[in-house]
Every structure is written in structure tokens, then in C-alpha cells.
Amino acid sequence: MSDTTGSLRPALVTGDKTIADVTRDICAPMERRPTGLWWFAFSLSGTALLIGVAAVWYQIATGIGTWGLNRTVGWGFDITNFVFWVGIGHAGTLISAVLFLFRQKWRTAVNRSAEAMTLFAVMCAGIFPLIHMGRVWLAYWMIPYPNTRGSLWVNFKSPLMWDVFAISTYLLISALFWYVGLIPDLATIRDRSQPGLKKRVASFLSLGWNGSARTWNRYETVYMLLAGLATPLVFSVHTIVSMDFATSVIPGWHTTIFPPYFVAGAIFSGLAMVLTLMIIARKVMSLEDYVTPKHIERMCLLMLSMGCIVGLAYGTEFFMAAYSGNGYEQFVFKNRALGPFSWAYWTMVSCNVFVPQLLWFRRVRTTLPLVFVIAILVNVGMWFERFVIIVTSLHRDFLPSSWAHYIPTWVEIATLVGSFGLFFTCFLIFCRIAPAIAIAEVKGAAHLRKRESRQRAPGEKAA
């Protein structure tokens, strides 16, 4: 019955696995001691994290005058990093929610780690606006609570306020989605581990799950609901992030193309990050049979399509500037491509538009080292996209007398390094303590080998 559909599409899990093999293989990296490679990666990311902690401590203690910002360029590395990290998170939700609604079964190989990535990326993103406030200890003023200052409420007309709600909702819903997906797998860990701390923790967190069909029935409904909620949520989050810019009157920001352009860019960069992580993780954790070159290829195709949308948006921006007849708008775009930050602009265009075109070739999509390099370049390109949008639109404003240049200080660079440290440290710990692949979902989606099918006599009732 299910085997006929299995032969039409390439197998989701290779290596002729049984259901029990899936449990064992995915739990294996958690049950053995960490490898040398893991320790190497962990010490590297831990160091980066410590550098970041030191930098953040220094800039909070001293003030954000330690940054290279000036009166003309008021947003620089901080907001670039914020938008970059929020964007990275979006592919996780795309894979876990949007592809779920489209019934793309191949998502089961990557959804768990992509959701974890979302969570960590949004954590990294949240740090930057907080530091940017300068007086981070007053961050709770953004929460609308009855206070002794009037009570003065927050300004709900400000897109920056919308951002507070969008990002915190996104973080909470992503964490919820991730945890709900983990519950059946935690029950699996509970049932297969020896009595001890691990069993107790898994038992506590799995909420007494016993795989009852009645519970599964409700669980599937709720999972579908969460996917249905997360899909518009992910679009709203980056739409609102883009409105931080689009509702201003700055040439280069004040444009209606921003919401779709930002959402496509976010998913593009997130897919690049998923590919970067999964190409390494499948090797290090010996999960090559679960994250197969087929999965990588499909993600490449998604990345290619998103890259083309982003390329179209770059072109549209120039067209609109020319067509609008607005001198300031035209100046900003000429300045972007030919001005002092043209190196950043062309880095962005080459990494985001030209390089991904290689993915049209199947040979490129199936050569994993090449895909890895392309994914890294897209990450670089997407970081520069945000830098270009923010800095080039600001540094030469309406009055030539106030034109300025922007050079980041070591504090800003160290904070960026630290955010990567936080991201990778969290991801490496996640790989050790939780199943990196959704065990229950892979079992349900893949057409696995049946254990005794060979013992069954031909013609016998096989149901």
C-alpha cells in the first residue's frame, strides 16, 4: 500500500533501515561521549561567546559611545546584526510550518534542527535592540504595564513597538512549536535510557506521554494548528521588521517593496544557514542516511528560488528609483552602487544573485562541498544586504554638510563574533542533549523496511 508511493519518489531515509534502526541511529550521538571534533567546535564557539560577553559587558558599562555610530549614521552593526539573525530564524519556521502545510515529507529530516536554529537565532537577534537602547536595565519599559510614570503607556503606533511584540511572540511560539514536537521523542528517550538523571529529566519533560492513539489524534490537530499559526506569524515578523525602515521617510527605506523583499531575503539567508549547519552535522553525527543529498538538493532549489526573488527585488528598487523621478531616491541608489560603500553593495549582489545561479546545475546541487561554500557565501551576502540597506541609506542624507562615514569599532565586531558564538554554542549543546532529527516524524513519513516482510509466505494475508 504505502510501498507503491515509496517507489515513485526517492527514499527519504536511505540504508534500508527498520523503525528500531531510526530510534537507535538518531539517539546514538546523544548516548556516546562527545567526539574530539565536537569539543574542538565547542571550544571555538565558547571562546567566541566569551569575547561577545566581554564586549557586551564593556559597552553596557561604558555606554554605546564605544560604537562607531555618529549623528548621521545612527544605525550600524547593531541593527544589521538584529535583522540578519531574525532572518536566519525564518527558514526554521518555513521548514517546520510552511512545508508541513504543503505536506512536504522531506522536511522531517531537517525540521528539528531548523527549529532549534530559529530559537537560537531569535535569541541572538533579541540581544541587539536591547543593547542598542543604551540603558538595557530599563528594557522592561517596553512592556505595557500600569506604572508610576502616569501611567504612561507604550506607543502602539510605532513600528519599533510592533517589533517588540512580533519578536517576543515569535520566540515564544517557536519555542512552543519546538517543544511540542519534542514530546514524543522525549518519551522515546525516557523509555530507552537506564534509570538515572537522564531518564528522570526525559520523564519530567515528556509529560507522561505514552503514545496513546487518542492523544496522537489531538496532537496532530494541535501540530497542524501551530503550523497554521506559525506560517502567517513568520511573514508578519519580517514584515514588521521591514516596517521599522519602510515607515520612515529616509530615501532607500521608504518603499512598499520592503515587506515581501525582507521576507524572501530572510528565508533565503535562513536556508543558507540550515544548509551550512546540516552539511556539517550529518557528517559529524553520522546521520548521512537521514539527511541525504536529496534533502540537500531540495533545500538548494528553495534557496535558488528565494535568491531569484531577492535578485528581482534588487532590480525593482533601482527601477522604482529611476521611475519615481525622485532625485533623492535616485541619488541613494547611485550612491549605493558607485559610492564609498560600493564594495559592500557588490559583495552583496555577487553573493546573493550571481553565486546562487550555480544551483541551476544538478551537478552543483549534489556536490556537497560546493553547496557548503555557496551557502556560506549567501550568509555573507545576506549580512551585507542589511548593512547596505541600513548604512548606505543613512550616511549621505539630504544635507551634504552632514554626510559622514561609518567604520565599526572593535566593540561592534566583537559583539557580532559573540552572537555567532552564542548561536553555535547553543546549537552544539542542542545536538548533544536532544534528538537532532524528529524521530517520530521520520518514522511516520519514511517508508522503512519491514522487519519480517521476508519471512512472510507469498499469498499470505499481509494486510
Binding site: 511584540f165 511572540t169 520523564s203 494486510a463
Partner: protein, 178 residues
């Protein structure tokens, strides 16, 4: 009140599905099934009704959206009206994004907590696991034995047609089964 149930263990989801259908055709009551993953079609074979949790989600979402819209209107136009860029105090469009986020937040958490509530899942609950391998690679069907006409041997014979791996009788205490 105690129930007597027959636990039938299967190795494949196809066998579980076919056995469930055959047992129900014979008029036997399926108490529950325990599977390592969501077996599609099992809810139909067992005759389970679609979950009504979608309504919880809808109600929570509407509460979130309307509650937040009211709150935004109240803070910006009644409690302390502030002129922001000459916009009207009660400008509805600018209230939409936050109201939407509140709707998603409440709907998401509302439906998950409702799931935990109706399925009696809570942190620290002692799982009633009938077979530890039901979270790994085996499928267990719990068949009600309380009916006077229940013939264990006949049922076991029937189950053998569906490659049952193991059968076992068990007494379950309490009104809420398993």
C-alpha cells in the same frame, strides 16, 4: 472500577490498522492503541472523532485579537491620549500588527495547553507505558474484555491473521483507562 484488556502487539502499522478494522467489524471495543508515531488512518479505523481543539484555538485567537485591539484603543485614546505625528488617537490600522501578534500568541498557547489538559499531560506525570517498545518500534492495541461474550481464544486466532507478535491480558484500574 477495573477493566480487563487484551494487549495485542504488532510489528507493522499496516497489521495494526487492518486488525483494528477487523476487530471493530466483529463488534469488539478498542480501548486505545499505543504507537511510536502518529499512524495515519488509525483514527478512522478506531472510529475516533476529529478533535475539537480547533475551536479552542479559534476562541483564544479571537480573544487575543479583540482584547489587544481594545487595550491599544484604551491606552492610546482614553487612558492617556498622545498626539503621535498628527495621527488620530484611535487610528485602527496601526493597532493591527500588535493585535495580530497577540492573537497568534494566545491561540498557540491556548491550543497547546488545551491539548495538555484534555490528554492529561503534565510535567512529572508518571507515564502509563504498556510496553516500552511502543515508543520505539512496536504497536500495541488494547482491546476491551469486559463484554460477557468476549472469547479470548477466538480473538487471538483472529489476531494471528494479522501477524500479531504477542498478546497479553491485563487488568487496568481506574475510570480513565490507561
Amino acid at each position: 472500577m477495573s477493566h480487563r484488556v487484551l494487549l495485542a502487539t504488532f510489528e507493522h502499522e499496516d497489521d495494526l490498522l487492518a486488525a483494528t478494522e477487523a476487530l471493530r467489524e466483529k463488534g469488539l471495543r478498542i480501548v486505545d492503541a499505543f504507537t511510536p508515531y502518529a499512524v495515519h488512518g488509525l483514527e478512522r479505523a478506531m472510529g475516533l472523532k476529529p478533535s475539537r481543539l480547533t475551536w479552542v484555538c479559534f476562541v483564544c485567537g479571537m480573544t487575543g485579537a479583540l482584547g489587544m485591539l481594545w487595550f491599544e484603543h484604551w491606552t492610546a485614546s482614553i487612558a492617556w491620549p498622545i498626539d503621535v505625528g498628527g495621527k488620530p488617537w484611535n487610528s485602527l490600522p496601526s493597532d493591527v500588527p500588535v493585535a495580530f501578534e497577540a492573537a497568534v500568541l494566545l491561540a498557540g498557547f491556548g491550543s497547546v495547553f488545551a491539548l495538555f489538559g484534555v490528554s492529561r499531560l503534565f510535567p512529572g506525570k508518571r507515564a502509563r507505558v504498556v510496553n516500552p517498545r511502543s515508543s520505539d518500534d512496536q504497536f500495541v492495541l488494547a482491546i476491551d474484555e469486559t463484554d460477557a461474550g468476549f472469547d479470548v481464544n477466538a480473538v487471538e486466532r483472529l489476531l494471528r491473521d494479522f501477524n500479531v507478535a504477542d498478546t497479553q491480558e491485563q487488568i487496568v484500574e481506574g475510570g480513565h483507562i490507561l
